[in-house]
């Protein structure tokens, strides 16, 4: 664990030579991250984590809320839970694919199995993370998604 954490930090250090503080100015309004999770505390702490890492994000309580939102077009990266009341994260992904609106998507789930992971990755997910996840891994993938 210690080793992998160290390697992620190195990767991030390479990606952001000037440090995290500069990232805020690096990404403008167009580089919005959307967070969809039905759990209030997970949603808000994730937003804070991204803010501490220099990313701006919008949070949504459900997939339906996100789809209704006007920020959708400005979203550069989507972080979504899979199991939610109403539309699931996978259904949201399918819906976006169907509308040809391919936003890089990172799934976070408390109980993902291999089948679910396979399905998500095949549909074009950037990553599939188990809760609780390593912040460095998440930040790295968000960074990668935004740099696309």
């Amino acid at each position: 664990m210690q080793g992998s954490r160290g390697s992620y930090e190195r990767m991030i250090a390479q990606a952001f030579p000037s440090g995290h503080s500069s990232s805020m100015s690096t990404h403008g309004e167009s580089k919005l991250v959307a967070i969809v999770d039905d759990d209030d505390s997970v949603r808000s702490t994730l937003r804070e984590l991204l803010r501490a890492s220099g990313f701006l994000s919008n949070t949504f309580e459900s997939a339906e809320d996100f789809l209704r939102s006007c920020h959708r077009q400005a979203t550069a990266c989507l972080i979504t839970d899979i199991r939610m009341p109403g539309m699931s994260g996978l259904e949201l992904q399918a819906r976006m694919n169907a509308e040809n609106c391919r936003i890089p998507t990172i799934f976070i789930t408390a109980h993902g199995d291999e089948e679910m992971r396979f399905q998500a990755m095949r549909a074009g997910a950037v990553e599939f993370l188990q809760k609780p996840f390593d912040d460095c891994v998440l930040v790295e993938f968000v960074q990668a998604a935004l740099n696309r």
Binding site: G19, H20, S21, D38, D39, S41, V42, S44, T45, L46, E48, L49, R51, A52, S53, R83, M84, P85, G86, I108, A110, H111, K131, P132, F133, D135
Partner: protein, 506 residues
């Protein structure tokens, strides 16, 4: 038909009349004979005295009418046989003497008759009271027989203990229990039979209360020379005619076997309820894991955020502090959930306390809302905030709520319509708080609606059919009721009531 009897009676009556008047004639004749004999032997002539005796005898034995006849006869005999030449004045004097004597004798005879009547009355009275006494004695001896039968044949141990704490009488149960002759127990001190600790701590205080005139009952486990026994004992004061208590009637029943059996039953029920809780918790593992995982994820996010604010080139302590307090909040939330799960899984003796049912409902919903979300079930509540508390075991009530909600979720998993779980609480009549759990699921099995509360009845592929059964046992053991009805327009509705705690603060 009764002519011979009547005839006989008439004959006896005539005979008796003849005899009575005959006595008058005979006694006067005897007086005449005796007087003539006196005259013959030249003795002073005492006919008058003899005649008076004859009249007296006749009055005494034959009554008034023959007595008067004797008086008249005496008068005639005197004037005919003795001193026929007496002048008219002395004849009248004699007649007057006889008449006065006869009158006096009439009074005497009447007095005698009165006396006889009284004697007869008294005799009858005595005979009656003698009969009563005999009957009373018979009744008493029967009562005594019954009493001794009860004493001898009672399965309970019965004894009489004097105020000196010594046995005055014991029944054969003592003989059986102590394996020694009952006579050898009589006279023994209670302390010597039961041992000093039991006597001093329990038996003596009870006996003393009884000797002070109180009827005392006692039900508990006792440790005496017979080992540990569960007994029900009653002490009744025995008084003599004076008001002082002279002894105690002690009746004791050994309920050890019953107590052990009911304890075993209670234990078995508790084990079953525990097993059923564990089964339900097992079914919920995935949901509960998710439930705990959420705050842990949030805490980890918060900690990462905190580290990031601190490791910047210009660390932002304010943001870091904010993130750290979020960690604390979320870690506590995780701990709370684990505490709830533990309390549901732990095996503990039921402890009743005043609890807020709405609080229990909210906790269960927190625990199960993920399970509901998993099947796209919305949970609606309508809880009466003014409903009073109930006295109940919180874990057991949670178990009932969990059973009902899990059943509802199971019933809605497959249905293709709005999936809605509705929980209501309100204060009903008779100080009962009623909880209703309704769903829009498959509904009650129409043919077997009454069987759903039977043990091992289930409509679920992997159910063991104990949930509703145990829930009903729990609710009833709290003095409430649990029943089911059809929900409108579809689904099932379960109700249960629990008595409101008296003197609750709301």
């Amino acid at each position: 038909m009764d002519d011979p009897g009547k005839l006989k009676w008439t004959v006896v009556s005539v005979m008796s009349t003849a005899l009575r008047y005959g006595l008058a004639v005979v006694s006067v004749a005897a007086a005449l004979g005796l007087a003539r004999a006196f005259v013959y032997f030249h003795l002073p002539q005492p006919f008058a005295a003899f005649a008076l005796s004859a009249i007296a005898i006749t009055f005494w034995y034959s009554g008034t009418a023959p007595g008067i006849v004797a008086a008249v006869l005496s008068s005639l005999v005197r004037s005919f046989f003795f001193e026929p030449d007496t002048n008219a004045e002395s004849r009248v004097l004699y007649d007057v003497v006889f008449l006065v004597f006869a009158l006096l004798m009439t009074r005497v005879a009447r007095a005698r008759n009165e006396l006889e009547r009284r004697v007869a009355e008294r005799t009858a009275e005595l005979t009656r009271s003698n009969d009563n006494l005999k009957r009373e004695i018979a009744e008493r001896s029967h009562a005594e027989y019954l009493t001794s039968k009860v004493f001898e044949c009672s399965p309970d141990s019965i004894s009489i203990v004097g105020t000196d704490y010594r046995y005055e009488r014991v029944n054969p149960v003592y003989q059986r229990d102590w394996e020694r002759a009952a006579e050898s127990i009589v006279g023994m001190h209670v302390e010597d039979l039961w041992g000093k600790p039991l006597f001093e701590n329990k038996l003596r205080p009870l006996l003393d209360r009884c000797f002070a005139g109180e009827d005392v009952s006692f039900v508990d486990w006792i440790d005496g020379t017979l080992g540990r026994r569960y007994v029900a004992i009653t002490y009744s004061p025995l008084r003599s005619s004076v008001q002082r208590v002279e002894a105690a009637l002690v009746i004791a029943r050994d309920l050890t076997e019953h107590a052990l059996a009911s304890e075993a039953l209670r234990q078995a029920q508790a084990d079953l309820a525990h097993a059923s809780r564990l089964t339900a918790m097992g079914e919920l593992t995935a949901s509960l894991a998710h439930e705990v995982n959420q705050p842990i994820t949030a805490a980890v996010n918060g900690a990462s955020t905190c580290v990031r604010w601190l490791t910047r080139e210009d660390p932002d302590l304010g943001e870091a502090r904010e993130a750290a307090s979020g960690v604390i909040r979320n870690a506590k939330r995780a701990a709370d959930i684990i505490k709830r799960i533990r309390s549901m899984s732990k095996k503990s003796e039921p402890t009743k306390q005043a609890i807020d049912l709405n609080e229990v409902i909210r906790e269960i919903i927190t625990m199960l809302h993920n399970e509901a979300h998993r099947y796209s079930i919305s949970i609606l509540t309508n809880l009466d905030a003014t409903a009073p508390k109930v006295v109940a075991d919180p874990v057991q009530v949670q178990q009932v709520m969990m059973n009902l909600i899990m059943n509802s979720i199971d019933a809605m998993k497959e249905v293709d319509r709005r999936r809605e779980l509705r929980i209501c609480s309100e204060l009903a009549e008779h100080q009962q708080v009623v909880i209703a759990v309704s769903d829009t699921g498959v509904g009650l099995p129409s043919q077997q609606a009454k069987q759903i509360f039977d043990a091992f009845f289930t409509t679920k592929p992997h159910g063991i059919g104990m949930g509703l059964r145990i829930s009903r046992t729990i609710v009833e053991s709290h003095g409430g009721r649990l029943w089911a009805a059809d929900n409108s327009p579809f689904g099932a509705k379960f109700y249960f009531t629990l008595p409101a705690s008296l003197g609750s603060e709301g």
